[in-house]
């Protein structure tokens, strides 16, 4: 599935909920179901520092594709992290670098992408793309 197709799938998934509470509950469930990051990768150098929620991001490069794993200490942020990974993981550096990720706006959680200092999500997307650039240069 392409990045855009996964994004569209998520948008449709969130359209099933008609109020914010349902959307947030779904996001929280996604956060809870995020596969655990290998503890050895939950180190300070993998920490993306937001003002409040901490996000750990790790990436591996296999067969020309990037595999991301991540965790956060805040469950709503973790839900967003789970969505980002679902969209971007197992894609090539070029696909990741060129992704627009406008699904966040469409699912009505736009505030989480605003450049505030309240969460590490913007920094996380930036780091995911930086990792992709690094793998592209290396490969």
């Amino acid at each position: 599935m392409s990045i855009e197709e996964t994004e569209q799938e998520i948008v449709e998934e969130f359209e099933l909920f008609d109020d914010w509470m349902g959307r947030y509950e779904h996001l929280i469930d996604l956060g809870k179901s995020l596969p655990l990051i290998d503890e050895k990768n939950k180190t300070n150098d993998k920490l993306i520092k937001g003002c409040q929620a901490q996000v750990w991001l790790h990436s591996d490069f296999k067969n020309g594709k990037i595999i991301y794993t991540a965790d956060s200490d805040a469950i709503i942020t973790k839900g967003m992290v789970a969505l980002m990974i679902r969209v971007l993981t197992n894609h090539t550096p070029d696909e990741i670098i060129n992704s627009k990720l406008d699904f966040v706006e469409k699912i009505g959680l736009i505030k989480h992408l605003s450049p505030t200092r309240s969460n590490g999500l913007v920094s996380m997307i930036k780091q995911m793309k930086l990792d992709a650039i690094a793998y592209k240069v290396k490969s």
Binding site: C51, T77, N119
Partner: protein, 415 residues
């Protein structure tokens, strides 16, 4: 003074007061706004908004310079604002009141200017474990520059200063004690009068960070005998970008200017400059004239209700909310001092403050989450952040009920 503020969803004075604050009638995320982030900034009454509007619509001119009518009128208003603040703090002279950008600016002014003149290698500055970063960093920077040492008054688990430890810290090397009047995170009201007395017994001056105190209680700088007192206009229902530094005349006369430029001088030549007397010595450049006018309007508004009335009403809100929060399973209040202002910080077992704040926001309830610019204090409690609610006189018990219900809903969703 008006009648006491009536409580709970009545149509008494509280509704009249709330009607003075336009923003309180707006909706957030489709719900009526419940604003419990007054510790960060307070909302503005119509009279303050009107004063700003009137300044720009009818009064705008630069102060202290013009012979023309507009300039003379606004100079008078600006200086009258200074007098309004002098009266609020009961300062001995209006020239002891310096307009700043805010509390942070005032503390930086003193740390830089006082520090330049009085602090040297091996000297000591005392702060407390509960200080806001704004009352740590200017002193830390000064210490780094001068080779001085920053000492910290510890607190107990309730969030109260340990005065016995403080007594041991003050010595002949101490050059300044910088302490908050009310903790922005814990709500603790510090015994600053006693601290000032103890410091003065060793000839040490005291700066009080009054950012969280001035909106809630009467401050009398002469009775306290503090050397410096800072606060921000925007937490006192006034505009942002304006604040106050009170300094005793003797210090302001002795301290060099902080920033220099237009307005700070008597005469200038390329060889030598003679600086003006305080307060102008410390007000370089065109000041925030509208801010000063707006702040005076805010003080007039607060005075019309009465700070004693405000303090007792807010104490009622504090008690009511504290009792309700204590009934919630797994919730722990951080900061349980005997003397508290209307600020409550708390954590909930297993939940991140950010998550709680996000769900409350969806319900139209504005709270603060995070470390509240007090990271050393968070480290003292071994936590990374809290949820903080802070009340003003326009809040109600009804809003507290709504907040408790919202909080329970958030906990249920997140657990």
């Amino acid at each position: 003074m008006t009648e006491p503020i009536t409580t709970y969803k009545t149509s008494g004075n509280i509704e009249i007061i709330r009607a003075d604050f336009p923003i309180l009638s707006r909706k957030v995320n489709g719900k009526p706004l419940i604003y419990f982030d007054n510790g960060a900034t307070s909302q503005k009454p119509k009279s303050v908004i009107d004063a700003l509007d009137n300044y720009y619509s009818n009064q705008n001119a630069n102060i202290h310079r013009g012979v023309h009518t507009l300039s003379q009128e606004i100079t008078l208003d600006y200086e009258n604002a200074r007098t309004t603040i002098q009266k609020l703090l009961n300062a001995a002279y209006s020239h002891e009141i310096i307009f700043t950008k805010g509390t942070t600016d005032g503390i930086n002014l003193v740390a830089t200017s006082f520090g330049k003149r009085y602090v040297g290698l091996g000297d000591e500055i005392i702060v407390s474990a509960m200080e806001h970063h704004s009352n740590i960093l200017p002193w830390q920077q000064l210490c780094d520059e001068k080779g001085a040492i920053l000492k910290v008054i510890p607190i107990n688990d309730a969030g109260e200063l340990q005065l016995e430890e403080f007594k041991k810290l003050v010595n002949s090397k101490t050059k300044m004690v910088a302490i908050s009047h009310v903790s922005n995170t814990l709500g603790t009201i510090n015994p600053i009068k006693e601290i000032i007395k103890l410091a003065h017994a060793k000839n040490v001056p005291v700066l009080v960070d009054g950012a969280q105190a001035v909106p809630h209680t009467i401050v009398d700088v002469q009775e306290l005998d503090c050397d410096f007192y800072c606060f921000s206009g925007h937490k006192l229902f006034g505009p942002t970008g304006i604040g106050i530094l009170y300094g005793k005349e003797k210090w302001l006369n002795a301290m060099p200017p902080y920033q220099v430029g237009g307005g700070t001088i008597k005469t200038v030549s390329f060889e030598k400059t003679e600086y003006a007397d305080p307060p102008l010595k410390f007000e370089a450049g065109t000041p925030h004239i509208a801010g000063a006018i707006g702040l005076a309007a805010a003080i007039d508004y607060v005075n019309a209700i009465g700070l004693n009335t405000i303090a007792s009403y807010e104490y009622e809100l504090l008690t009511y909310a504290t009792e309700a929060l204590q009934k919630i399973d797994g919730l722990k209040i951080i900061g349980t001092a005997k003397q508290k202002a209307s600020v409550i910080s708390f954590i909930v077992d297993g939940l991140h403050p950010f998550d709680i704040g996000t769900i409350l926001d969806q319900l139209g309830i504005a709270v603060r989450t995070g470390h509240h610019c007090t990271q050393p204090l968070m480290a003292r409690y071994g936590i990374s952040g809290t949820v903080r609610v802070s009340f003003a006189f326009y809040n109600t018990k009804y809003e507290i009920d709504e907040f408790i219900e919202g909080l329970q809903r958030a906990i249920k969703m997140l657990k």
